[in-house]
């Protein structure tokens, strides 16, 4: 790392008679603030896999790839594209199966937060104001960045109802559904994340982050189960369906080019 004029002056002051305490302070300033791993002006490719946290009705394993450019050591612009393997949780399947056995319920509202995010493409800004190092097992220094990320884009979403059955089969007490109502939509999505990047060298870093995807919910209310079972159209969209937060823990690796 080249010495800047400021560094030279500081070191000169040190060598010209600084106290031990000020010497240590100087060392700390020079070594900790001077980044061993600098990313300014570099592109990066960052694959990652994410696992949804606090699953209720849906679960996701989200595979993403990010392409970013670092304007400085602290600021970067990143495009992330992803595809998720998703589905209903055991709880959602249980709710659906139990609902089918409740033949007395003739009018029902569908559950909220059943949309699964299948694909996503988001553009965002990453701000990494914190650069530090830790001593792992007292010997191995690890350099890291802590960052926040915010942006938005579009996602493709899939939804399978747990109450809107279009084809009921089976006997009483063992009722099954051959065709649940499914919907697919493309809609805007916002995203924010916080995370750490632990540098493994000049060309890469292990990335750990918690990321939230935020998108609009929608579902039907006033579904007449008998009409639905006969293949008819029933239900009206919920007036205030709210938003869905999909929170993922991402583990990835960033390659700096």
């Amino acid at each position: 790392m080249p010495a800047s004029p400021t560094h030279r002056i500081l070191i000169a002051a040190l060598l010209l008679g600084a106290t031990q305490a000020s010497a240590e302070e100087l060392l700390e300033r020079v070594v900790v603030r001077n980044r061993l791993y600098q990313v300014a002006g570099r592109f990066e490719i960052a694959p990652a896999v994410g696992f949804s946290l606090a699953d209720r009705l849906t679960n996701h394993i989200n595979f993403t790839v990010g392409l970013g450019y670092h304007f400085s050591d602290a600021w970067a612009l990143e495009l992330r594209a992803g595809y998720a393997v998703s589905g209903h949780t055991g709880l959602a399947d249980q709710v659906a199966q139990h609902f089918l056995q409740k033949e007395t319920i003739r009018l029902v509202d569908d559950l909220s937060s059943l949309w699964e995010m299948k694909g996503s493409a988001i553009l965002g800004v990453r701000w990494a104001p914190i650069y530090g190092k830790i001593s792992l097992l007292a010997e191995l220094p690890i350099h890291f960045q802590a960052y926040a990320w915010a942006g938005g884009g579009v996602g493709s979403f899939h939804r399978q109802s747990v109450v809107y059955c279009q084809q009921v089969s089976g006997m009483s007490g063992d009722v099954r559904c051959g065709n649940w109502l499914t919907q697919n939509k493309v809609r805007p999505v916002g995203s924010a994340a916080i995370g750490f990047r632990f540098f493994t060298g000049q060309r890469g870093a292990v990335t750990l982050e918690v990321r939230n995807y935020l998108f609009a919910d929608s579902y039907l209310t006033g579904i007449e189960t008998t009409v639905a079972a006969s293949g008819g159209q029933t239900g009206v969209p919920a007036k205030s369906p709210g938003l869905i937060n999909l929170v993922l823990f991402n583990l990835g690796y960033a390659f700096f080019l």
């Binding site: 790392m1 040190l14 060392l27 900790v32 709710v95 559950l111 104001p129 001593s135 007292a138």
Partner: protein
């Protein structure tokens, strides 16, 4: 200013200053290991104004906690911690299941934690420092904690609605254990900020409500059916009949009897994990 000859070699990563190779930023000597603030022998009091459950599926908790740590060694401390959840209710998701599809979590699965008291330990295996915006330096530790103790639990009997407030039944003391991890960022010698994630696990078996078992509640229900006051019921020791009699804020508490009976008639058990985010400020002395 004259620059000493040594600086002419500054680009050499092996140039030593105070025994450390100054221009090798990866240097460990003097740079990471040496802590400016020693913990050994110190006391630390931590106030967590916010302890927020982040995995609330059937329950939702918001609380505060207070902790005391005696740092027996530099990387090891003994800890006492008390937590009070000033908001502990069934989640909106659980209510949605009840309202829409007449499903709800088992009683044990939706047990609420009111308070917990634990003793345990804390280790700080990793120490580091960071610069914020290439300016201010801060020192931090990764903290890992574990503890065990007791917690008071309750179960929501009915939700708040236009007919009245939410009502709860005491389900007794349960064993509580926890593990956690987080960061302690130190500001000067005396103050630190903490952000931690703790998994509070507690055993949950619901076979009594307000100390009353299924037979007690059945006896009270029978008295109600006969038009008699519930206090006339013959119940076992420990059953708080008074918690099911009279009115509170205009709500007839005897209405809770069938709800409580429904909970205990099919006893359920579970081990619950209450994963919380704890943010706090600590003072060392």
């Amino acid at each position: 200013m004259a620059v000493p000859k040594a600086l002419g070699q500054a680009k050499d990563p092996q140039t030593l200053v105070s025994g450390a190779p100054l221009y090798n930023p990866n240097v460990a000597v003097h740079i990471v290991e040496k802590k400016p603030f020693a913990d050994r022998g110190k006391h630390e009091i931590i106030l967590y104004p916010g302890a927020i459950q982040v995995n609330g599926k059937f329950t939702q908790h918001f609380g505060s906690a207070l902790s005391y740590i005696y740092h027996l060694h530099e990387n090891f401390g003994l800890q006492l911690m008390g937590q009070y959840n000033w908001y502990s209710r069934e989640s909106g998701f659980n209510q949605e299941l009840i309202d829409k599809v007449r499903e709800e979590a088992q009683a044990a699965t939706s047990l609420l934690l009111v308070w917990a008291l634990q003793a345990g330990l804390e280790v700080t295996p990793i120490y580091g420092k960071f610069a914020f915006l290439d300016g201010s330096l801060a020192h931090f530790s990764l903290v890992i904690s574990a503890g065990a103790g007791l917690g008071s639990t309750r179960h929501q009997l009915r939700p708040e609605n236009p007919a009245g407030p939410a009502t709860f039944g005491d389900t007794g003391l349960k064993f509580v254990g926890s593990v956690g991890a987080g960061f302690r960022v130190q500001f000067g010698a005396r103050f630190a900020l903490r952000v931690e994630v703790r998994d509070l696990a507690y055993t949950a078996r619901v076979d009594r409500v307000n100390g009353c078992n299924s037979a007690d509640l059945s006896a009270m229900a029978e008295q109600l059916r006969l038009g008699q006051p519930v206090t006339a019921a013959q119940v076992g020791q420990g059953c708080s009949v008074s918690s099911f009699s009279g009115f509170k804020n205009g709500y007839n508490r005897s209405n809770d009897i069938p709800l409580a009976l429904n909970l205990v008639s099919t006893p359920s058990s579970d081990v619950l994990n209450n994963l919380g985010l704890y943010a706090g400020l600590s003072v060392l002395f």
